[in-house]
Symmetry: C2
Subunit: 214 residues, 2 copies
Amino acid sequence: MTIAHDSRTDAAPPALAEVMQRLGQRLSVAKDEGIFTQDDEADRVHLVVSGAVRTTRLLGDGRRQVAGFYYPGDLIGPETGALHRFSAEAVCDAAVLMVRRAALKAYAGEAGFERAFWEAARRELERTHDHLLVLGRKTACEKVASFLKSLALRQGADSASMPMSRQDVADYLGLTIETVSRMLTQLQGQSVVAFDGTRRFKVTRWDALEQMAA
Amino acid sequence: MTIAHDSRTDAAPPALAEVMQRLGQRLSVAKDEGIFTQDDEADRVHLVVSGAVRTTRLLGDGRRQVAGFYYPGDLIGPETGALHRFSAEAVCDAAVLMVRRAALKAYAGEAGFERAFWEAARRELERTHDHLLVLGRKTACEKVASFLKSLALRQGADSASMPMSRQDVADYLGLTIETVSRMLTQLQGQSVVAFDGTRRFKVTRWDALEQMAA
DNA sequence: CGCTGGATTGAGTCCGGTCAAGCCTTGTGG
DNA sequence: CCACAAGGCTTGACCGGACTCAATCCAGCG
């Protein structure tokens, strides 16, 4: 497995990815299966190998907020506290590399290693700040357009796959599945994107998508 | 100046605060004056000494999202990238300590120092994740209640001051000033809080406040 | 005392949520 | 290979919470 470092993604930088491959234990997770749970002891670090993973937080009455989606090469929500602040589950069948934090510590001095972890955390924070702006100040249409745009950018192509369910997207954007569905229909009607099945789409008018994402 | 380390706040841990006091340049900022601007080079770190500071991001058409508020002892949005991802302005007359990042580097090896910076970044990320949940999944009333609760908790007393304007609160919570105002009136009507003037309030029923914050 | 700008209140609208069908895909068993 | 069931997605009708626009209030200040 080779993991390219691409500034558009949260890909773990080479130094970190390499160490994780050396020390990590591979773990297969079925769709919707948990990887860790909120308030669990956070003594392990996880790197996505294949599939996709979501991190979530729950409100007492069941309302759910998806904090982020993670793809091959991404560190799952790099945390440094004692306990996990959210849960992580597989969005579709996935595989992750898991390594004890204590084991990673041994490499703390290695060139580029410390920095690599910092980098991952920094990107996580930046992404979360972008997410804040989307949740707080964008309309339903802008939210969905932003989401499609980021999916396509991350995959670096006009055609992109969307491995998560409508419910996952809704909980990520602070909307309902019905609204997400309507906005997708609307964007298709305006020929901004074209869906091929329910989990794959192509950007047909980048300029319009950019504009609608605000 | 003594800065106590309190786990309820984003207060910079002693090691970091001490170094900043030794090396830092003191800067006075008037209400609404900028401290740094989005896309500026991020070559300095700022510690709030007095007053309060907000960090903001703007959308092209002027919509604004307040990312966070910072109080005495807090590091302002610890960033590690080359450029600032947001702007920082004084919410009211304030003073900050400013130190060049390069100067801080010299202390990278000092006991507890590295860890102190990590801690600050970690708390920033945790707080931002809480903020995500509020923006994405809470109602207007719950948002305002959560905000008042966090203000009171941070100040560790039933009576708390609210240095920022209604507009700042609205942009932090993803609401309009009118809605914020209505919710404040409503919470007062239910005797959950009592305002003394427009910038100071007292929590009269903690149980109710907790419940309304969801 | 009036001026000024922030805060509150009110009336009406609209965006996104709710509830309820209906559709389409996928998988399973006959 | 088809029939059928199950679950996810879409669509429609309606509703209501938050927004908009506008008037008024109020505190701070010259």
